[in-house]
Amino acid sequence: MAFIEINGQQFEVDEDGFLLNPDTWIEDVAKYFCKEEGIDELTEDHWKVIKYLRDYFFQFGIAPMVRKLCKDTGYSLKGIYELFPTGPAKGACKLAGLPKPTGCV
């Protein structure tokens, strides 16, 4: 597995660039990932989604369904895609340090 270095700290990532251990996430990880997911700068709106995803994941052990994400954060799916051009899974979950989505994706 590969490692990335952010401010002198090592993070293990998989071949798609997802953080391997959600516990090691820090805000700088999201800042580091945002360029490759097509985001110029992380705004208040981005952080709201990222924080929500992390809270949900540590409370329930899973990433929320898309409908749940939209309902709870108040963003439409279109709005989520405007914030995260690569989508809620590849974009938002990656920035939030959540495990890579599985199944027939």
Binding site: F57, I62, P99, T102, C104
Partner: protein
Amino acid sequence: MAQARTDIGPPLYKEMLPPIIKENYGKWQYHEIVKPGVLVHVSETGAKLYTVRAGSPRLISIYFIREICDLADKYCDGYLRFTSRHNVEFLLSDGSKVDALIAELTEKGVPVGGTGNSITNIVHTQGWVHCHTPATDASGIVKSVMDELFEYFTTMKLPAKLRISLACCLNMCGAVHCSDIAILGIHRTVPKIDHDTLHKVCEIPTLTASCPTAAIRPNPKLKSVEIKAERCMYCGNCYTMCPSVHIIDAKNDAVSIWVGGKISNSRIGPRFSRLAIPFLPNNPPRWPEVVNAVKHIVEVYAANAQPGERMAEWIERISWEKFFEVTGLQFTDKHIDDFTLAQTTFRSTTQFKW
């Protein structure tokens, strides 16, 4: 991010229709199979469309595509199509060119056939070429089986059409659950869990919910899960959801054969395929056991079924116990359904044959 051009859908199919089809769209009167692999459709305007159907291995290179494009340019004014079973069809408005096209296809090693009461192309999946959950290979078995059954592709001597399909795991991508003969990859061992990585890369609730027999339960002590081996039937669903559960087992992964599925409503309604052979070994590169089993079932069916009778109709007429008798296949405990709706598959009548 620069605004990308999105949501434009596929190109409109009408842009790619040969003029003869555009002109006679919705006006076809009848069609005939001239000879194996060649169809003629006759329109009410009198126009005749000749179709030459040729086999393809589905997994093809851009060079193969360019070769068939050259043929289409030469014989069909640049028009061709692919069928829903991945055969190539050349669409000719000029019937005099049919034989020349067939000659050139044959010379290139592309077989013409797959029409009428034949064994046409095998619908199949990714296998070891591209997928991460397979229990067997797709392209390899398909090539081996079609080599052995080649005569049935280029002739129309079977009682009815016979559809063979293959899926390399029981996700059953494709048509194995509804084919006359289906080849399906299966696992036979309980998955092994990598406890060190599981809590990092998997969503444990999703993982436990993925199990159809509820064999997986969380193990909070290890921040992982445990699998009750006696409840597991090796479906591999958990591996689909979680990369830390490993099910692939080179030694024990195997192939099963299913029969009697159909999707058309002609004569009898659609049927699911049912288990005929629970286990045949994975034996690359030619899978002789699988090839022989499929060939044997085809030959017994061809020798016994009435004209026009699909596999499912034949088996239902002679009964499943006779099917196992005439094919000589062994009936085992594996054939008896023990899942949710098992009861509906048991015999609830005294009618049976000794």
